[in-house]
Subunit: 454 residues, 2 copies
């Protein structure tokens, strides 16, 4: 049994056979290795070695491996391949993979390749490039099975057998009208489990759920998640079927979108490159603008502190609780904003729910604030021994700060979305900075009210 | 064409037909509605209405709809169904959906139902319950197609046609030995595109990638993402094939795991309930422990402030930059920790990469710190007009704080993972609190060094 779970073992074995120059055994083992693992293997090799391995692959695997390689690896291989070989490879790629490859290549080379390809391909490429970035049009492939309602199961199976090899998936087939409108869909499952003379018309589902070429990839991912489909059809402005998106491309998008939100939460400019592959200089470039903006915003607290200096000078003990208070406000605000950002990203709540959300957060804020306020009071009084007055000011301030922080933290992501910005920019760092200033104002005003003569 | 994109329109139409008591048209429209939308429809109805709609569904849809309902909706329906009806429904559910339903029911009722079910089902249920929570065993279904290597394509198709109806997927079929070991897998795609007399043995792939019943669902999700499969086989301790996991269950897990990390990042206890469905009281309960812990930790800053009070009293201008400095430290640290947490969650980096990560963050910290330090110095000197000495202290402190914050922020998630904790607990709030204290210590020590006589 050639089952394997550890791809590391497999990679070691492949490398051994390559080093020992045993092409037959290597080729045999490559045939039993998943293309994803072959990609990992090739990425560790020198350009010459990579070319040797690549040429040992059987054609289907070579096409799949090439599609999955990182762009610099593709370039390395391409440099070693003859132009004829490369063009052939390009022709065998699925449409979306071909486009990805072309996009990464120098413009002059793309021109040369397109010139020598047929008219239909050129038209497709041009149409593709007209779709907005991150849209369904950019994700779709154009290789799908089209059936007609008047076909029988037997005819459909024969058709699938004939065209199946070049298709991305056979498992969902779309039934179209002569003008390319979708009439319905039929799964290969129901084709193979029904009698040969059954009409496709009788088998197809008519409740087709589709996306438009211009739909955002995030919405496409949500539609996949909602219905649990493995493929979704893509239609153009005039509702003609033009492509198909499969679930394997979507899983990466779900993860990518989450990563993008994490990056915004971290207060950095989102970057598509993986962390491990981003150079320090680029990481710094993504982070400095936010850090700078937040630092400048935070200096606003200096202005507030300066304005209330007389309060601190009157009761110096107040000073030492400032970091604790601003921190607690920031934490309370981050909790609210992060959860609201996530709930909006997963479409659990919408902007129209704003009143419900804010009301909920005020309630949560009151409960949390009271709990924290009491503990803070007790700690100040019994542990820090700063006296009843200051302890009470600190305790009361906490309640106010937590309620305000929760309100601001829940409201701002919704406001951002309303104005067409990504709610995730209203993440912890920004909320903390805003809440810091508010916390100081609350603190000093509570103090002024409580301390006679101020 | 009954295609639809807006499920809202569909729901309005269904409700209209229900209210107007037009069962035939309603039943007709239900047949053309995706079960996921029917679930949404039923969840808005009263128990009586829900029962009416449920009984209008054709059997396959009823089973699918029931499986997808929230547990309280299931209970509502169940109360209206006769026990015989309910048992029949339960029998028609896929194994994993049946288990989910049983798990949500009162223990006494489960006992009664199990007693009247066959021995094999009882054994399966008991085995299932022995798997750890969130393991592959709990995710898998037991309805999959098994083929034998000696079958021909024609025989395989006949077998699939016979057993196909009850199977979760037909698209990946596993080839097993008489002792239930996996010998390989074959896709329905290659079965339908090959000649009738081809042997399954010649079509099957032998590089089976599988998971174990006890594997964590997060690892299962990563395997799906890595290889882009739509189904993965599950084997038991003795490597016998026992189940199958399909990609639609995995998409939710990818999202759930990300949501869990978001909750930890927010400094709250993770909760499986959606935000919109969690009551304020429960939200508060999830948040108070962290807020409390962070507040108490933050009071450590008071101790530090108290210890260095003489520095502030000597140069009172230093006081007003404290929040800005601690904030900048917190932000710099959060950036590092959040990105490292995400990189670990997506397996972009591992604990063994710690030295590389820390070195990278120190470099990034130096670049960011210098940029921020220079701006802070200029701002203090020209804008706040606090003099050369204080401006220089602030600028220099920023450089130190940013480097330290980046180091701590990147190291702590790795340390957490090393000790078997979720790296996401080392999120912004905790990092900020730790960095706050460090920032103050750096600030006051830089001041002591720079100000003669302190």
């Amino acid at each position: 049994m050639y089952t394997y779970k550890s791809s590391e073992d497999r990679l070691v074995e492949l490398k051994y056979l390559l080093d020992k120059k045993r092409p037959n055994e290597l080729s045999e083992l490559l045939r039993r290795t998943n293309p994803v693992d072959i990609v990992e293997f090739i990425e560790e090799l020198s350009a010459e070695e990579a070319l040797v391995v690549f040429r040992l692959l059987k054609k289907d695997d070579a096409v799949e491996v090439f599609a999955e390689l990182e762009s610099e690896e593709k370039e390395k291989l391409q440099a070693g391949l003859q132009e004829r070989e490369f063009k052939e490879l390009l022709r065998d790629l699925n449409f979306d993979d071909m486009i990805d490859t072309l996009e990464e290549m120098p413009a002059a080379m793309v021109q040369r390749i397109l010139k020598s390809s047929d008219k239909q391909t050129r038209a497709l490429v041009n149409e593709y490039l007209s779709f907005p970035e991150y849209s369904a049009g950019r994700l779709m492939t154009t290789e799908f099975v089209e059936l007609k309602p008047y076909m029988t199961v037997k005819e459909a199976l024969a058709h699938i057998k004939k065209v199946g090899h070049d298709m991305v998936t056979l498992y969902t087939c779309y039934v179209t009208s002569p003008t390319k409108e979708i009439l319905g869909y039929v799964s290969l499952r129901s084709i193979v489990t029904n009698k040969p003379d059954t009409l496709i018309d009788d088998l197809m589902y008519q409740d087709v759920i589709y996306v438009h070429t211009t739909d955002d990839q995030e919405d496409v991912a949500l539609t996949f998640q909602k219905y649990g489909f493995t493929a979704l059809p893509v239609v153009d402005k005039t509702d003609r079927l033009v492509g198909l998106i499969t679930v394997d491309d979507i899983m990466w998008i779900i993860e990518q979108e989450a990563t993008e939100d994490f990056q915004l939460l971290a207060g950095t400019t989102p970057d598509e490159e993986a962390y491990s592959k981003t150079r320090p200089w680029d990481l710094a470039k993504n982070r400095i603008p936010w850090l700078m903006f937040l630092m400048i915003s935070a200096t606003f607290t200096s202005t507030i502190l300066r304005g209330y200096e007389y309060v601190v000078q009157a009761v110096i003990a107040l000073n030492m609780f400032i970091p604790m208070l601003t921190d607690s406000g920031g934490n309370a605000g981050s909790q609210a904003s992060t959860l609201v950002i996530r709930a909006m990203a997963t479409h659990d709540i919408e902007t129209s729910d704003w009143a419900k959300v804010v009301l909920k957060e005020i309630t949560v804020g009151l409960i949390c604030g009271l709990a924290l306020g009491i503990v803070a009071f007790l700690k100040c009084y019994f542990f820090d021994k700063v006296g009843m007055q200051v302890s009470f000011i600190v305790g009361l301030t906490i309640v106010g700060i937590v309620v305000i922080a929760k309100t601001v933290g829940s409201l701002l992501p919704i406001v951002a979305e309303k104005f067409g910005a990504d709610p995730a920019i209203m993440a912890s760092p920004l909320i903390s900075t805003i809440v810091d200033s508010l916390s100081l104002i609350v603190y000093f005003n509570v103090a002024r009210l409580m301390i006679p003569g101020l």
